[in-house]
């Protein structure tokens, strides 16, 4: 296997991009990544996108996006694993470069979610749950995560305030990210008095509906040294795992099993342990999700995710900073793009380009991206060399 570097990353301003279409949003981010890498071509492309068919009535993204990026006839594939589509696109790009099949590969992600009304978006997102055994009975994602939150509170004593503190921290971090959709700071009181969505989750516990894209350029380490003068960020671990699609089929609904297994695989490949990680971007689609996944990754002890947040361990100046970008909560959550945007943030941090939210001396970063209520997860570990 060849060693693989990330030599370029690109992300545009996320939000309700009423005046842009899916192709515009993707092409902007892809060109930013290509410029950042300083390459004049790409050999292959993977794009994560969860549901362009339901959101904008467009499938066949491999052709469309290669066409509008001006890269025909390169091979291209659209990757779908619900909200983990972006992370999986990056993993497949990594495998393609590592295997020697292609040299310069673009791994991107995109979602255009605001062309449908809220009920249309809720329906599209619900297709990531089990249609026959969950969705037909009326459950939506806020409902599923609300049950996980209730179970976590019951089992470990996690408090409503601790959930709110995840949102407060991530909006604080996002206030320093010029690309974030909701860079406003919030207080615990704001969160706890915001509109109820699914008890105990309120609107400020939920990630928003977002239009956005992100892209990364991968190539072999040998080639990377010739192409770029920027600090080289190497992918040292990659893990992908699945779990039951339906939440009710799991032994313990407070544990994200797919993240646990994907994390173990990535740590093993990287030869690292949780204590070696300087920062992590994780999938905080709801505040409770961040608490569950930092436990599953072993970044904090099981059952202590809420307490760790309350104690500031996951803050920018904490022991293990989580979601320095603002996370899905503040930065936004265009589902297919999220996994790639997490990688963009880690690369910026490892290169020392993260501005006011820079973690000093960061050497090793982790990304965790998951689909649905945890039915699939992708974890990557990167190191600056």
């Amino acid at each position: 296997m060849r060693e693989v570097a990330i030599i370029g990353v690109g992300m545009n301003k996320w939000g309700e991009l009423w005046n842009k279409s899916l192709r515009d949003v993707f092409t902007e981010a892809a060109l930013l990544a290509i410029d950042d890498a300083g390459v004049d071509h790409i050999d292959s492309m993977y794009v994560g996108c969860m549901s362009s068919g339901l959101f904008v009535g467009q499938e066949h993204l491999s052709s469309l996006l290669a066409d509008y990026l001006g890269t025909n006839p390169i091979p291209a594939a659209r990757i779908e694993s619900a909200c983990a589509s972006g992370g999986l696109a990056l993993r497949l790009g990594f495998i393609e470069v590592a295997s020697g099949t292609s040299d310069i590969v673009l791994a991107g992600g995109v979602e255009k979610m605001t062309d449908v009304a809220v009920d249309g978006a809720t329906f599209a997102l619900s297709t990531a749950a089990d249609q026959e055994y969950e969705v037909y009975h009326g459950i939506t994602f806020p409902g599923l995560y609300a049950m996980m939150a209730r179970a976590h509170m019951h089992k470990y004593g996690t408090t409503r305030e601790q959930l709110a503190q995840v949102a407060v921290k991530n909006h604080h971090n996002g206030s320093m990210n010029p690309l974030a959709q909701f860079p406003q700071k919030v207080t615990v009181e704001n969160v706890m008095k915001s509109v109820m969505i699914a008890d105990p989750l309120r609107i400020l516990d939920c990630s928003p509906i977002t239009d956005g894209a992100a892209a990364a350029i991968l190539c072999p380490m040998d080639l990377a040294k010739k192409i770029t003068k920027k600090p080289l960020v190497k992918i040292i671990g990659s893990g992908n795992a699945t779990d039951t699609i339906a939440l009710h089929s799991r032994d313990d609904i407070t544990e994200i099993g797919s993240t646990k297994v994907a994390g173990e695989k990535a740590f093993k490949m990287a030869g690292k342990k949780p204590e070696n990680i300087d920062l992590a971007e994780v999938h905080d689609c709801f505040t409770i999700a961040e608490i569950c996944v930092i436990e599953a990754l072993g970044l904090v002890d099981k059952g202590k995710g809420g307490k760790a947040t309350e104690d500031g361990l996951t803050a920018l100046d904490g022991k293990i900073p989580i979601n320095t970008s603002g996370g899905l909560k503040s930065k936004g959550h265009p589902v297919g793009a999220t996994g790639v945007a997490q990688v963009c943030e880690v690369v910026k941090q490892l290169r020392g380009e993260a501005g006011d939210r820079q973690i000093k001396g960061a050497k090793v970063g982790l990304t965790q991206n998951m689909g649905g209520s945890g039915g699939s997860s992708v974890v990557h570990i990167m190191e600056v060399v």
Binding site: E16, W18, N19, T114, A117, V118, V195, M196
Partner: protein
């Protein structure tokens, strides 16, 4: 010089509070009260519709104008709740006020700016000299589907204006229109209730067009927000007009007089025209007023009005808008409201 020679407004006496609607749908009334700045809204009685409210408002406009209705050359009613799909509202209105048969009549439709459209055309017909007086009405018994966000604001009311050349109480200093193809809110034939594109109705729709029209007319007349005593914008809720006013550089005291939505609701085609009537009720000679309507689909009509010395003679000749709004209120429960608004469907 052309402008307004008579004006009047009408609001049905029934009210329903936001809490009463929220209670039925299990929503948080405070998020509407604080988030959208709406407290209660007017509800038409079963025997009231766009035509009856237009007649009421026009009677007041005629009192203030003091003219012979036979001299009115055109009657234009703007609404998105004309009682008939085929058969004009304007014919009934014209007959009721004694303005027939030598009169041109048309019903207007452009979502919530149908009323200001009628005002715009009436001003130009008078300016052209083809008639002495023209009557413009904006009125709606607004529709909002049960449980939809619109239901908290969709209200009923009418504003009526008689345009002429002499004896003006407010001169139309300038007019300006701003329009694009923006599908934010619509209702197709045979549908009871309008549909809307949720948050898309905000920034790329309401704000873009009102700001476009306001900036356009201010540039045309070479005036700044500080030159105006009052400003009134379309009021889909209480929050949007205050926000757009602030974005344009107006202060709260310039906006408060014309702001009716928090206690009246959104009267669609009647919205900003009714706000203008509330301002005229209090205005003094030489006051400048900026009015900008908004209609989904989408467009805005902007007007700069300059109040004349005649205003003080007419203000008390008919009930004032805030008197109608604040007096003789009759609070109803959701069940009565549902019955009045035809929301209870009976089998044939």
């Amino acid at each position: 010089m052309v402008g307004i020679i008579g004006y009047g407004a009408y609001i049905p006496r029934n009210r329903i509070k936001v809490e009463e609607i929220a209670k039925v749908w299990g929503t948080d009334a405070n998020s509407y009260r604080k988030g959208l700045f709406v407290e209660e809204k007017s509800v038409p009685s079963p025997d009231q519709d766009t035509i009856t409210m237009s007649v009421e408002a026009t009677h007041y406009a005629l009192k203030r104008s003091g003219i012979d209705p036979q001299k009115i050359g055109a009657v234009y009613v703007g609404s998105e709740s004309h009682p008939y799909a085929v058969k004009p509202s304007g014919t009934v209105l014209a007959e009721a006020i004694g303005a027939t048969p030598e009169i041109h009549c048309a019903d207007y439709e452009f979502a919530c700016k149908a009323g200001s459209e009628a005002m715009f055309v009436c001003l130009e017909l008078v300016r052209s000299g083809s008639m002495e007086y023209a009557l413009a009405v904006g009125a709606d018994t607004s529709q909002g589907a049960p449980g939809d966000a619109l239901e908290y604001t969709a209200a009923a009311g009418a504003a009526s204006f008689i345009m002429g050349k002499d004896n003006l109480l407010a001169e139309a200093v300038e007019t300006y229109s701003f329009m694009t193809d923006t599908p934010d809110f619509w209702r197709r034939e045979y549908q009871y209730y309008p549909r809307h594109a949720s948050r898309f109705t905000g920034e790329p729709a309401y704000f873009k067009h009102i700001i476009g029209a306001a900036k356009g007319i201010l540039k045309k007349v070479k005036l700044e927000p500080k030159d105006f005593k009052y400003a009134v914008f379309h009021q889909p809720n209480g929050k949007f007009p205050l926000k757009v006013g602030k974005l344009l550089g107006f202060k709260r005291e310039q906006l408060d007089t014309g702001l009716l939505c928090p206690w009246m609701g959104n009267t669609y085609s009647g919205s900003s025209p009714m706000g203008l009537t509330a301002i005229l009720d209090e205005a003094k000679p030489d006051d400048l007023i900026l009015m900008v309507s908004y209609g989904s689909g989408a467009g805005s009509d902007a007007f700069v009005w300059k109040v004349t010395s005649r205003i003080t003679e007419v203000q008390d000749k008919a009930p004032k808008t805030k008197e109608i709004l604040n007096n003789n209120k009759n609070y109803i429960e959701y069940g009565t409201y549902a019955k009045y608004r035809g929301k209870i469907r009976k089998a044939e």
